[in-house]
Amino acid sequence: MTTATKERAENALQEKIQEKIRGIAATLLENGTVDAVIGYSRGSLSHMTRAIMAKTREDAQKLVFNSHCRMNLAAYLTPELMEKACAGKDRAGKVAVVAKGCDSRNMVIQIQENRYARDQVHIIGVPCTGMLDKAALARGVEQEQANCATCIRRNPVIHDDLAGDPVPETDPDKDRFADVAKIEAMAPPEKAAFFDDLVSGCTRCYACRNACPLCYCPTCFVDEARPQWVGKTVDPTDVMTYHLVRAFHDAGRCTDCGACEAACPMDIPMRHFTRKTIRDTVTAFGCEAGTDPDKRPALDRFELKDPEGFIR
């Protein structure tokens, strides 16, 4: 299949999905199964979508699905939203969420971490064929997001409805971690220089943190004042400390959804941090975050035979 034909096929697939999402959303809202549907709507720029909360049949017609649905809607599932959804009702609120494969993995983790209960969300699963890279589009190049190229769950892990036929998963034997291996092959000073350069444009706007469905601490460590763990400047050490701790906090939980990179106004590929923890979690502990609702996240369990060669 040529690239152009493949694109047309994907667009047609996405349009069908979009119609299904609208239909499912309208039905769920009309029969009162859910109080609101969280989905994507058209943005003012052609390469952007915007999260909306649809509450009526008319709203449901605004829902879209295309190659610009980069944000992870699981990040919008806050207690505030859940509370709002049930306002004026004598039962717990329930919201429907449009979820790609990666988003559904994040929802698995959120449920495991008791962010909300499984029966509070109605998951409109979307078989996903990947998103277009925003930074590349700005250069006029249409290219798949790097995380989509190594995706292992294009179909939702958990769902209540499926807005389209499942798509084939990517080859599981494919070398998914070539990017990590490439950095590992570097000498330590090279690694340091690579990562220093990587974050040099960071302004600490925290778009990566806020776009992440796993970053929901009531007080983020960067905002803690006593003690203040990390300075608030854009000094290279402060910036690096922020990125390291952020990445580490997502270790064993990160699903590589790519929302952090898509959100970054400076196009910093900060997945290079999380990719390392993902690879190590897979190789050392055999865990793929959020792929199994019955398995706790990697750092929330242990095995007696876990590696300890580094301990004296």
């Binding site: 944000m71 905002d223 959100a263």
Partner: protein, 359 residues
């Protein structure tokens, strides 16, 4: 009119000449885009740039500004030996800074910032010294970005109000106007050649073309007269803010956002007091020491940002909206928020209220 011209090949030489009496700043390639930087000897700004992701406000108002240093004095440890702690204020380099390639709306934004940093109540020494020492060599935008609505926001691709010199790209040369005395001095130092009447015509034509291309703002004419609380309580805010993730991308990119935080960094007996950019989008910005937060919810912080830019600021200063229409927040927002749509929503809300009131 005082036309000047400099061929593109001659830019580097002209700036080298000027650099004998001015420090030079300008847009250079940084990462995937462009940013304003102070330039080293022989470094030439990339005047073919379209826009910078961050605004040039950092030239006057750096993201992290040390205000003063302090340290604990040496002491013998004997009782009674307690010399006073040592404080040292920051000193400034007074050399004039010429910013070459400044967009007219970004230049206007610097003047809007001044309203905050130089008021009848207080003059900020850090800001104002840099402000006064700056020469603005503007570069008109002959092809404004589609998200740019500067013309409608009170500036424009050829706005002359806030620059000392305004250049425009005329193919093989930059042609332009000297607007102020500061500009004349710089043009002299750089050895820009005088322009011809033909250049003046070409400049006017470029201006007409660019302004024709420029986007028009959704009207915000009604916001001014609307009652503040009516706008504040308008029912569209929650829905409009839904996609907002409350990061600081818009506020940091914005050329007119001026909020800051004060932090002390202390290590082993010495420290520094820093003034750092802050963002009203974050929870911590408005959190009180008591734990109470008047803008606890994300949409309240969203509302505050737009009310400040489009209502509180115009009401307080009478200098129009606190937005120059650069479009940075539109292109950089992860949630796809568009200030033009928020303006339109506010204007529509104002219209509804006014209709209800008028007989």
């Amino acid at each position: 009119m005082n036309m000047i011209r400099v061929t593109k090949q001659a830019v580097a030489t002209a700036l080298a000449k000027a650099s004998k009496s001015y420090a030079i700043a300008g847009p250079v390639k940084a990462g995937a885009g462009h940013e304003f930087r102070c330039l080293g000897q022989g470094q030439v700004p990339d005047l073919e740039y379209t826009h910078t992701r961050l605004s040039p406000k950092s030239l006057l108002f750096p993201q992290a500004e040390p205000m003063f240093h302090f340290k604990l004095p040496e002491t013998t440890g004997e009782p009674g030996d307690t010399p006073p702690a040592f404080l040292e204020a920051e000193s400034f380099k007074e050399a004039p800074l010429a910013v070459v390639g400044l967009r007219p709306w970004d230049a206007r934004a610097l003047d809007l910032l001044k309203l905050n940093f130089d008021s009848p109540d207080y003059t900020d020494p850090f800001f104002i010294k840099r402000y006064n020492a700056m020469v603005r060599v503007g570069l008109a935008d002959i092809h404004p970005d589609p998200e740019n609505f500067s013309l409608a926001a009170g500036s424009g691709p050829f706005d002359e109000a806030s620059v000392d010199i305004l250049l425009a790209d005329a193919g093989d040369a930059f042609i332009g106007k000297v607007i102020t005395g500061k500009g004349r001095d710089f043009a002299g130092a750089a050895g820009f050649e005088p322009g011809s009447p033909d250049d003046a015509k070409a400049f006017a034509a470029l201006k007409a073309a660019a302004e024709k291309e420029a986007d028009i703002l959704p009207a915000c004419d009604r916001i001014n007269d609307a009652d503040t609380l009516d706008l504040y309580h308008a029912d569209f805010w929650e829905a409009a803010a839904f996609s907002c993730i409350n990061c600081g991308a818009c506020t940091f990119a914005c050329p007119t956002c001026w909020c800051f935080d004060i932090q002390d960094e202390v290590n082993q007996g010495k420290g520094v007091r820093l003034r750092l950019w802050d963002s009203c989008m974050t929870d911590l910005y408005s959190a009180h020491a008591s734990g109470h937060n008047p803008r606890e919810k994300g949409f309240q912080r969203f509302r505050n940002r737009f009310m400040h830019k489009l209502k509180y600021f115009p009401d307080k200063y009478g200098a129009g909206i606190m937005c120059v229409g650069c479009g940075r927040c539109i292109t950089q927002c992860p949630g796809g928020i568009d200030i033009r749509e928020v303006m339109a929503a506010m204007n529509a809300a104002a219209a509804t209220v006014q209709q209800e009131v008028s007989p």
